[in-house]
């Protein structure tokens, strides 16, 4: 699935020590990021994490207070948006209501004074790419969300930019269409052979489409890695909690390859920590096996069973921690069971400022709390 073979070694975009403040709010805090040519990079994070701001800095709509933006090793800080070799697909498409489909797609070429004959050829090519042949004369207002999305892609891609910036392009589509468009965008990126910088808050989208995922939080990059790395080897408790479901426990590293959880020592594959160093331990719910008590490493009581289709989601109380387990075998509430965890299912992380913030499944998420709090205004956008 990955197109690693196509990714060039050279960096196409480099951000160095970027800091952005709006009034006194620090939006981006000394952020550095390199993006390779023909890479599909996703900036992933909750709203307000600075991902859209990062994209807008690359596009040239925001000038950072400090730090440099390089494009193929040229500093482009002072280059206005219309002179940058990037094009953007905006969140709500931003199609021009005064032009029809054809004229919207042709817009960028007309500005560049490309001859009409060539424009026609290239618009036709784009319409084929996004499967909208026959829609040339259609008014923008008479297109569905999915069709507008395609026009927005064609309008941006027709300029043959080296980098396409996508700001949550699928957020407004419904689930089924979103899945289809994910595949289509990925295929398109390979066909066009250009770099995509994709912004989303949807971790599943990020994992399934990207070559590289950049997890952002509070204006900082938390982790950069392949989707598999991000999932299996999260850098800290925030990433572990944000990507997928996870059990995050306090542990103590007894010695290399030995960690103590809940007073029980477990074998693991991690080393290089200090003796008796407190650590965060992440164990994915699908990596925990439910076994008879006598075979288990930990013993607990089943308190909640939820059927999720492919699997059951089972909450098991062990002493003072509620474990989440995903399994295809059913358990009953009230059962006393054992938990078995393989050494390779245990991932050890250094303590960070996010330690202790994400515990077990006994409480609702922050977002759930925010919704019921009248003092917090929940905006869709970062700005």
């Amino acid at each position: 699935m990955s197109n690693e073979a196509n990714i060039a070694e050279k960096n196409i975009i480099q951000l160095k020590d970027i800091t952005v403040k709006f009034d006194d709010d620090v939006i981006l805090d000394n952020l550095s990021l390199s993006i390779k040519d023909r890479e599909f990079v996703t900036l992933l994070g909750q709203s307000g994490c600075g991902k859209t701001t990062t994209l807008r800095i690359i596009a040239g709509f925001i000038n950072p207070q400090s730090g440099d933006v390089y494009f193929e090793s040229n500093r482009v800080n002072d280059l206005p948006p219309h002179k940058r070799p990037v094009n953007t697909i905006f969140q709500r498409y931003a199609l021009f209501p005064n032009y029809n489909v054809y004229d919207n797609i042709a817009f960028g070429l007309r500005v560049d004074k490309v001859p009409e004959k060539e424009i026609k050829e290239r618009v036709d090519e784009m319409l084929r790419l996004v499967n909208l042949q026959g829609f040339e004369k259609r008014d923008i207002s008479r297109l569905s969300g999915g069709q507008q999305q395609r026009v927005a892609i064609a309008r941006a891609a027709i300029k043959r930019p080296k980098v396409l910036l996508l700001d949550e392009p699928l957020a407004a589509l419904d689930l089924k269409l979103r899945k289809d468009m994910q595949n289509e965008l990925k295929a398109m990126q390979r066909k066009l052979g250009i770099t995509f910088v994709y912004v989303t808050h949807d971790q599943e989208e990020a994992l399934s489409m990207s070559d590289t995922v950049v997890v952002m939080h509070e204006g900082k990059i938390q982790q950069i890695g392949t989707p598999i790395d991000i999932y299996n080897e999260p850098e800290n408790a925030f990433v572990a909690d944000f990507i997928g479901e996870s059990n995050i426990l306090d542990g103590i590293m007894r010695e290399d390859y030995r960690v103590c959880l809940d007073g029980v020592d477990f074998k693991c594959l991690d080393k290089g920590f200090g003796k008796n160093e407190p650590v965060d331990v992440v164990i994915r719910p699908e990596d925990v096996d439910i076994v008879p008590v006598e075979k288990g490493m930990l013993t607990g009581e089943v308190t909640q069973v939820t059927f999720r289709g492919v699997h059951y989601e089972i909450i098991i109380d062990v002493e003072n921690f509620k474990w989440m387990v995903q399994t295809t075998d059913e358990s009953k509430v009230g059962d006393v069971v054992g938990l078995f965890i393989e050494p390779d299912a245990i991932h050890i992380m250094k303590k960070s400022k996010y330690s202790g913030k994400f515990g077990d499944y006994s409480s609702y998420s922050d977002e759930m709390d925010d919704i019921s709090n009248p003092d917090i205004e929940l905006g869709e956008d970062e700005e």
Partner: protein
């Protein structure tokens, strides 16, 4: 559906009655007078007589057209740059634009007389430097100034409305696709602001072309516009028939001008104030 249309009828009834009494009936009366003589017999004489007034019509249309162009040139950049300011600044400046409209048109026009008169503020000021008084009252310039001054807010308002409603991401999209400032304006902002411009033109041109007060006061009795002529027929000469004929033709002229204008707006009037 039937039920809904009954409710519609009831809701619309007050306006329908109002429109009938104050718009349609007077129009019919105007038409009646325009095509009858003093004795009430049907005639085309009034209309034929209008050829004498073609000069007045011409001057009225010319002055209002000039005034409309000037207000447009003043209002468009103002509205454009205003829409880019902070919200507080926008509110404050719009308040300043509207402020003169809280005063009566007559008072505003009298004030201009005081400013422009032979013994007015400007000439007194010039006199301090030993300069001869300049005649301003009674010149076309004074009349056009009066029109521009009085109707400028009506041009600013609709243009500002479309400008401030314009989605900023559209402008970003245009920049992103290679437009510099001028191209963004030419290819995006201008076409999107046309409905506001058309509304503004209508709201300035129509009252300008039919004004009689501004031309009477600032024209100093030497400049007769079509409005003055109608007023004189009605109020001084008591020739209702000729006055009605003049009004009718003026209405037709305005209607034709508006139809020509709306051709330019591509039949797309959303965002504008006048359909």
């Amino acid at each position: 559906m039937k039920k809904k249309s009954l409710i519609n009828t009831i809701v619309n009834a007050p306006y329908a009655i109002w429109a009938t009494i104050f718009i349609i009936v007077p129009l019919v009366i105007v038409c009646y007078y325009a095509f009858t003589d003093k004795a009430g017999h049907f005639t085309f004489d009034n209309i034929k007589q209008l050829t004498e007034y073609s000069g007045v019509f011409g001057i009225s249309l010319l002055y209002s057209a000039i005034a409309t162009v000037i207000t447009l040139l003043l209002a468009y950049p103002f509205a454009y740059f205003l829409s880019k300011r902070s919200e507080n600044s926008q509110r404050m400046q719009m308040l300043l634009v509207m402020l003169p409209m809280w005063m009566n048109l007559l008072i505003r026009t009298y004030s201009w007389m005081n400013i422009l008169e032979k013994n007015g503020i400007i000439n007194n000021f010039l006199g301090l430097f030993g300069l001869d008084p300049v005649t301003m009252i009674g010149t076309p310039g004074a009349v056009i100034l009066g029109m521009v001054y009085n109707y400028l807010p009506y041009m600013i308002l609709p243009i500002y409305t479309v400008m401030s409603k314009m989605d900023n991401t559209l402008i970003e999209a245009a920049r992103d696709l290679g437009c510099n400032g001028f191209n963004t304006w030419k290819r995006l902002i201008l076409p999107l602001s046309i409905p506001g411009v058309v509304s503004g033109i209508a709201m300035v041109f129509v009252p300008s072309v039919s004004t009689f007060y501004i031309s009477q006061k600032l024209g100093g009795g030497t400049i007769m516009l079509i409005g003055d002529t109608i007023e004189r027929q009605m109020q001084v000469q008591y020739n209702y028939n000729l006055g009605a004929a003049l009004s009718l033709v003026l209405m037709v002229l305005i209607l034709v001008s508006m139809m020509i204008m709306s051709k330019f707006s591509d039949d797309d009037m959303e965002g504008g104030l006048v359909a």
